[in-house]
Amino acid sequence: MIHNVKRVLALAALALTFGLQAAVHAQDTAKTLETGTFHGKVHSTSGRATIYQEQGGKLVLRLTNFKTSNGPDVHVILIAAKDADDDANFLKSSTERVELGKLKGNEGDQNYEVPTGTDLTKFQTVSIYCERFNANFGAAPLEKF
């Protein structure tokens, strides 16, 4: 009888431990992969760019404390470069890029989906790029978090 009670207690403790562990893992829904800060003096761009991986594997770029100048036809892109200068014309010099979408706002926190299969070891820099004038408003080189 006492043995049985002990066994039940032990099992309960075990179940509780694993149950708690599962709960902790469920909260852990996104992994921080890479991060970097923006620089850009001509169009005074600042803030942080971070790439998260959600549980399903989806990649999301998030901009925080973000600020740049407003402008026409501004896009968020990833470029195959270690970094980029102010007003770099890299679209004209055929630097490879991945389009993430139109800039949602020139201020504030915002998320952009990164296409699945994007090679982050190759596309190492986030650029705020004005397509109309081929101007780089700001760049954030990403480094492992």
Partner: protein, 168 residues
């Protein structure tokens, strides 16, 4: 006389007809009003992580007197306590090596060997010269002032490596 006035009028019409579209095209291309109009957004993080420790500041470690690399991140846990976490961390082993916070604008940081007193907040003896590790921060520490992590050999006053913390 009347034809002269007529040609003047038609010239005005021409000027209007040409300059109108040109002005509109110039406005469309440059959108100068955007210089004064901000478009502010505030999207939530793409995941719920309120109970997980939140990163507050982060920076990459750079080697000074000895090759040092990795990332230093200050987290705040859900109970309000702050701690420093080193990841991908590697430095050289040494005697009496400590993890300290110093002021980022401290001039002594330009040297590899500190002469004089280093104004610092002690976080503890370095637990290992490689690997991931956590250090509790004193509750009173002002991270806006003490915004650089230094791996510091107290015996020889040697700055092994520095990480300047920036807001996450």
């Amino acid at each position: 006389m009347s034809t002269h006035i007529g040609s003047l009028l038609s010239r005005r019409k021409w000027i209007l007809a040409v300059s109108g579209p040109v002005l509109i095209a110039a406005w469309w291309a440059f959108r100068p009003e955007k210089l004064w109009i901000n478009q502010k957004v505030s999207e939530a993080a793409p995941f719920a992580s309120s109970s997980d420790p939140q990163p507050l500041y982060t920076g990459r470690l750079e080697g000074k007197a000895h090759p040092t690399s990795g990332r230093a991140t200050v987290y705040r846990s859900s109970d309000g306590l702050q701690y420093l976490r080193l990841t991908d961390f590697s430095t050289s082993n040494g005697p009496d090596v400590h993890v300290v916070l110093v002021r980022g604008d401290d001039k002594t940081l330009t040297q590899e060997i500190v002469t004089g007193q280093l104004d610092n907040v002690e976080l503890g003896v370095l637990k290992g010269n490689q690997g991931e590790q956590n250090y509790d921060l004193p509750a009173s520490v002002d991270l806006k002032k003490y915004n650089a992590v230094v791996i510091y050999c107290e015996r020889f006053h040697a700055v092994f490596g520095v990480a300047r913390l920036e807001q996450f």
